[in-house]
Symmetry: C2
Subunit: 144 residues, 2 copies
């Protein structure tokens, strides 16, 4: 298992840990304006998705899809956004973000400029439904 | 096969077609500042990755990884960025983008604000290497 000193995702979870496997963890990230922002973080310090062996890549994909499905079922978002960038932190992590047509940036990417003010009441409504989403996520990941 | 009238990715290729399968195509996208910007576009009008049956999702992933590997081998980018957003066009497509530490936005996402002016000479150098990258891509996709 490769661990790199000084890498923020080797040193720390990077958010609230929702589920932990041997090769990956699912975290909830605190990102202003996006209450349902999760990340699937590889345990090993690997930069690119194509660096993974086939079985680990398939497993990573199954975890990502389980997170996406749980969020869709619990939150009925307008769209799911999934991305692995890693330009700042080249330790493989997939952003899995439920987007809503009322969120501050929709339909722009979360990394673009905001289009409107945040709707705190609706964000809180989403936050209130995260425990149900996360329970379903954990159950789905345990079934795999 | 679901086709939706008025969907830009049902109506048109969406870019220069590099490889065409039954269920997907790989296109080169003209995106200012990012000479090696490709998309894997599903043929069917499907919104979310988790809507796909397991085998089609696995196939889509293999295509995406083949594109990523060909770009890495030919271009030695600083980082690969892979994302499916679809907030504007909810027809499943994966952005597969080779990023360079000199590009106008690096290390920011391509959707964020630019950090510096474009380096046209280096962009042209990348463009000159795209045919080799695409030949390798097509060969890898034919081998699958």
């Amino acid at each position: 298992m490769s661990v790199v000193a000084g890498c923020p995702l080797c040193d720390e979870p990077g958010g609230r840990v929702v589920a932990q496997g041997a090769r990956w963890r699912v975290i909830h990230a605190q990102e202003a304006g996006f209450p349902a922002f999760y990340r699937v973080v590889l345990t090993a310090h690997v930069a690119e998705f194509s660096d993974l062996p086939d079985d680990e890549r398939a497993e990573c994909m199954r975890v990502m899809v389980a997170v996406e499905r749980a969020l869709r079922d619990a939150l009925a978002p307008a769209k799911m956004n999934v991305a692995t960038l890693g330009n700042m932190v080249p330790h493989l992590h997939w952003h899995v973000i439920a987007r809503f047509d009322w969120d501050s940036h929709f339909p722009s990417p979360v990394w673009a400029e905001a289009r409107r003010a945040r709707d705190m009441a609706r964000e809180q409504d989403v936050q209130a439904r995260l425990p149900a989403a996360e329970s379903a996520m954990v159950a789905a990941l345990a079934r795999r």
